[in-house]
Symmetry: C4
């Protein structure tokens, strides 16, 4: 298994062509922040904006709309209502991320099912957090997309893959990734990034200063932002995963713990660094 290297990141994060505009950097739809999990989608949305996405829309609990507007006014916040026409909404986006703070409610299940049924083959899908648990609980199949990314931690991966944590070897994981035909970011000590029928990549940055709530939501937001503007492939997913933990490493040089929103704030600076080699 290869290590995700700084050289790989540099091939992903490239200087922007001069005449581009926000339409060139992705239209991203984030779905989450229901029940008692409003903060999760706030953190994910911030991460997507700071990672350079062109246009970010977040569908969330009606009671979370003002929170989002205050926390990150750059995001267009949509409040969920029963009359929401999600299939036609989805059509407007390149990348859909569902999961941060989604919860396990009936509304959550309906939103996930609608996304799975509506997404088109030219769109990119990221499934995170409780959406992964809902996938497993309901035995939903993955849709045909340009690229699908799952971002489970080891317990969520067990639910999705039916591979017990103790049996989650690289070979077993890769076998299941091939079957699912999805990219998988398996979050753990030395996170692994899988692509179907490819070579897994392993993260050798990051550390226990990241062991705090919201870290995964932020990673999901960065992956969405990166897939909106860079090539839709394993390298881009790996680059997002790398930069998230690399920033944490840097902050940990002077901090015992690193907060998710602190990582987000550093994204523009670190992306600049890697784009200038």
């Amino acid at each position: 298994m290869d290590i995700i290297s700084e050289n790989l990141i540099k091939t992903v994060i490239t200087p922007r062509p001069l005449t581009t505009h926000k339409g060139n950097y992705g239209r991203i739809l984030l779905i989450g922040g229901f029940d008692n999990y409003h903060g999760a989608i706030i953190m994910a949305s911030k991460a997507t904006v700071f990672s350079g996405a062109g246009l970010v829309t977040t569908l969330t609990d009606q009671a979370n709309v003002s929170n989002l507007n205050i926390a990150i006014p750059e995001v267009m916040a949509l409040g969920y209502t029963k009359t929401l026409a999600l299939p036609s909404l989805i059509k407007n986006y390149d990348v859909i991320l569902i999961g941060p703070g989604l919860g396990l409610s009936k509304i959550a299940t309906n939103l996930l099912r609608t996304v799975l049924n509506s997404i088109q083959v030219n769109q990119t899908l990221i499934i995170d957090g409780s959406a992964l648990t809902l996938m497993a609980q309901n035995c939903y199949s993955l849709p045909k997309t340009a690229l699908t990314v799952l971002t489970p931690h080891t317990m969520e991966w067990q639910r999705i893959s039916n591979i017990l944590i103790k049996n989650q070897t690289v070979n077993e994981n890769q076998r299941m990734v091939n079957i699912l035909n999805a990219h998988v970011v398996l979050k753990k000590y030395h996170t692994e990034v899988y692509q179907p029928h490819g070579t897994p990549l392993r993260l050798n940055v990051g550390g226990p200063y990241q062991a705090t709530g919201g870290m995964g939501d932020t990673l999901a937001g960065i992956i969405a932002g990166f897939l909106g503007q860079f090539p839709k492939n394993q390298q881009t997913v790996a680059a997002a995963t790398f930069i998230h933990s690399k920033i944490a490493d840097e902050l940990a040089k002077t901090q015992y713990v690193v907060l998710p929103t602190q990582i987000t704030a550093k994204l523009p600076e670190f992306m600049h660094y890697y784009s200038n080699f």
Copy 2:
């Protein structure tokens, strides 16, 4: 076509006379932030305050009032209600900016029409964002004002001018600017600033790190702030446009992307720099 130079900015941003007070720096009314676009007027309002406007009032969706109070307490936030007496409200202001996050609803249309009908010849009007689309859809005419500024991107300009994007040459644009008798900030790579029967100016600062949502809302807010305190002419509009992108250039020396609110935070410092030559 002339380039907007740093020398021009210095003639606009001049030291403030010692005995002046906030009444000397403009009473600005911003109108926007409806439907799902609350964040847009928050960003515009912040930009107007940080650009040094004397008194800033923002008329927005009732549900956006608290967001504004939290994000920028220096602004007086008014919530839209059906009984709003907009014509008498407008009388109190020197500069009216309508458009950031206005949307295309019936309320938006009514607000725009009322502004167009109520504004007086000694007032300044800036029309931005969806207000431009509403102008075109409803074939509204521009009112007589001290100065009117339109801030379209190329597609909005096509709607307003009926000049297809591919035909938007300087000569064609200038011809239509003369007919409209309005200043136009045509936003694109190398933005152009037109005045009626004058010489267009071209921006040679700014870059693709600005390709993110809210950038235009922030520019509109700066233009409003500048027209409240500096001479109401093309140079002032050009200075606002220049400083917006010049700050982005500076930030981009260490950032891959530049957020609108980051530009706003730097306005007082950059205005100080240009006022001291």
Copy 3:
């Protein structure tokens, strides 16, 4: 007329005795932030906290309570209701500031009248902003207090004193201050600080970079904070007025305009500086 000097400030802002606690630094009640003026009391409250007050309570519009909690959680925010027992509430405080964003409504008038009728001779009262206009409109008399401070700009002073702005000479102002038996901070270019039957002091710091909304609300908040912890006299009022503009001067070395909340953020540092001579 004497100039407010740095030496005077140093006699006011002295090192805190080691064994003191928050009860030694004043219990301050702020009243304001109604109608469309929510932001004003947010700015005043922040200023009172950052100036070192021991305990700060703010009575404001019910709809402004959450805004305050978010902006400055150190403040106890009370929402106004019809059943409010203001007289018994007031008893708990050393210093009452009424005015920032109070407005001119019937509720505002009732609040002001109740404060004037309830305040005791051992308490300190500061009347600011629209509360001054209400005083004049209703011909209210000032109550007997330990110290009363009025903070009018020249037009508000005209309303209170019946001295036309053009006739507001030091002698005329001092004559009226003697009659009112209140301290007066007359806000203008070179603000003047009067005490009854005393020598007026003049400010020679500050400048036009302060010409922005919320500057007066912030000054009122600092005066309240200072009167909560320092001797209740003209020197303390003058010290608050001085530090407010002195910070602005410092910020203006690199900023074209200075925002009220930026001044507030610098209070702890500047107070430290003046306490260490």
Copy 4:
């Protein structure tokens, strides 16, 4: 009585093992922020997150949920409702802190009684602020836990212990601590940290720049965060108390007053410093 030394802190705050995750750093439940005291639990929650707790949940007034989501999205905010099943909720947490901004209402009393009745012998309990007053008023007994910490100031300690402030000698306090079988942080000039049948520790850092509202709420939050990740003993309680005031000392080198949220922001950096000896 021993002084709390930097060496003691260093034995508590140790480097994190590489393969740990957020489950290793405590599941903390905070309860408070009712009536007019919303800000108190916001400050406590922030402190718990910044001190490195793995997962922080805050149960608060329904009207305070959005405030928390905006102020610290890393926290899961639960709004109190009459149907809340607190006993089963409590089961999910390692550490329960009740008190910051809890108030003295019937709801507050019910919440406290339920916590006292539901908490298990393997859980840690911290009782702060008005919860201490409620304990005394209702003559509640302390439950059997892994560790219980009370954080009274001297008047609250008088209510709890029935020892008059003037009689609160180390011997008398220790005698009552033995009876209560709880750790006690007695907040005053030179705060004392007691454990049952042990040696009290005294704080020799901190100062009057901390004499401002919210300081105690922040300390309670840090103690909760520390007990979630470090050994559940007197040293950990002392380390939390020490770092809170030590940061204040550092900030006071340039500030006349120190705000609670400023202390919180410095926690990751100071914890890093002490973990690297």
